[in-house]
């Protein structure tokens, strides 16, 4: 149990997927201008990443490794993730329309989100067990959501400030993301 907590804290705070692993930057920049969209995106990522993490882990362990097809990992994973997102979208639309309305627009964005794909690949590279992969996937997603929401809070204010013209929008957002990433140094050594 303790090990899982350490893993979780490490994935959320120290090896934060956005701020330390540089994954998922485009949605990070794209959905952080407003708190509402940030929260929506965070939820969607948590939802998809946990499912994708587990399914790709199983695909890798039971199919690719068993048949010596590791070199097809990239292609297999992207197909799994793409179809998963499609499936989730269809499923939600039919059975949980409220959730679909909330997550709907964010789901397609996630297909081509390297955070999801990246986290799945990290699970494999780190040789995590099934439980570890579950904890790590969830924690990465929570870390993504946490950073995204904190960032949105800061960014909402920056947008109202008097940022010089050439720095406006993405430029100042990147600088701020840098500080965000620096801020997370605070948790170094804590697990």
């Amino acid at each position: 149990m303790g090990d899982y907590i350490v893993l979780a804290i490490s994935c959320i705070l120290i090896n934060n997927i956005l701020l330390a692993q540089y994954l998922g930057q485009c949605p990070f920049m794209g959905t952080s201008k407003k708190m509402e969209t940030a929260v929506g995106m965070a939820m969607a990522v948590i939802f998809v990443l946990v499912m994708a993490g587990l399914i790709t882990w199983m695909v890798n362990t039971y199919i690719l490794v068993t048949f010596g097809l590791e070199y097809l990992r990239t292609i297999a994973f992207i197909l799994v993730i793409a179809s998963l997102v499609q499936f989730v979208e269809m499923f939600l639309k039919k059975s949980i329309p409220a959730l679909y309305a909330g997550l709907g627009i964010f789901l397609p964005l996630i297909t081509t989100n390297c955070a999801v794909m990246g986290a799945c690949l990290i699970n494999i590279n780190e040789e995590y067990t099934f439980m570890q992969a579950l904890v790590a996937s969830f924690s990465y997603a929570v870390g993504f959501g946490l950073a995204l929401i904190l960032f949105a809070g800061v960014r909402e204010r920056i947008i109202l400030g008097r940022v010089p013209k050439p720095l406006q929008d993405t430029s100042i957002a990147l600088v701020t993301a840098g500080v965000l990433s620096l801020t997370f140094f605070a948790f170094r050594g804590m697990v």
């Binding site: 204010r157 109202l160 400030g161 008097r162």
Partner: protein, 458 residues
Amino acid sequence: MKRSFFGLQQPRFKYDAVSNVNIEPVRIAVPEKVTLFLNRPFEGKTPRTLNVGDRVKTGQKITLYEDSDAYVISSVTGVIRSFDSFLGDYGQALTAINIEPEQTDEFDEALRKALEEDGIAAARDYLLSIPGGMPPEMLKGGHVDTLVICGIEQDLLSITNQFVTKSKVSAMNKGVSAIKKITGVHKVVMALPQSLIQEAGAIGGASGVELRVIEDEYPSANPRLIMRDVMGQVVPADKRPEELGIFFVNAEAIAAVGEAVEKKILPVTKTLTVIKKDMTKTVVEARIGTPFSDIFQALDITLFDRDRIIVGGPMSGTTVYAEDHPVDPRTLSIMIQDSSDVPLVSDYPCINCGECVRICPADVPVNMLVRFLEARQYETAADEYDLHSCIECGLCSFVCPSKIPVFQYIRLGKYELDRIRLEEEAEAPETLEEPAPETEETTEEETKTAAAAKEEEA
């Protein structure tokens, strides 16, 4: 006015009390020219009931435009010399009527006739521009649940209502019973500072007014704060008290109503407080329409370039361009400010010091609000940052170390939102009309199918 050394403690403003001061008002002579404002844009071509050269009597109801029942009461007997267009606050367009008064007053008899023929309710059509002013919605016959008489002004320094409350007890008594009959209101409340409660006892006893004490600290005389603290009812931010049937009137107006029904002549003399540069106060009585310059002359006040003439108090008044600006029925005070005391605004952004948030009596998140207002995001300001909760006390501007014109931003924001809302409402009927063709189409289709059916039958 300066921030104290102990800045941790918030600045406090006390309303001035008049109970112990014996004030003799200065009476201003009838001026050489009076100017009355009619709440209608000036239209040269619209047929008028009166024209330049016509004579009017004191107390005469002037309904200038034939196609409108907006009126103003003449405060003198004299000859109309000209009409003008005048821009009020936020570009409100008014018609200015300039009258040259004669030496002696000849009083208009319309009110007397109306009262004698139709009883007291007939006064309703004459009271709008009585000294102190009456809420138009109340006179139009809207439901009046509660009437709150303000024995004290919202803003600081001005003592007009207190003075009237103290000196015109019997007129107020009559005014209260009259206004009860005119509007049918049962509950009349008078909000007073503790210092006046003795004097006002007489009013309460005779005419069935509930007396309520308000704190002597600014801005507790603000209508919304009176509602919350004295009446125990919070007015929703997006509603005005009037919409709940609660009307606020100045004590002066009630006294004026009393005088009017007693003498059957409309009073035309306005009481007001003049605050000089050294903050000494003088109570003045002048005909409505008297140019400020006459008052200044009578009080030996000299003005220089870059001084400021403020109508109303220091926290929420408005400034005027010219010395010959006339006294309006609602003018409670005139304040003169020396150019060296004029605080400058800066174009600094909010530094998030939080002074405004701590002082705001309405718990408005001013620090955030001001950012959205500056960015002209009025809708967000209203929806998420409580623009409409602001009771317009001006304290936030007072304490802002960035010298941001916060209060001005707030008023502008509210004004802009109102404008947008009005525009949308104006557009709304068009959108309502749109469904009409659709129904026509369906009927057409129905007729067609009906026709087809007939053909088939055939």
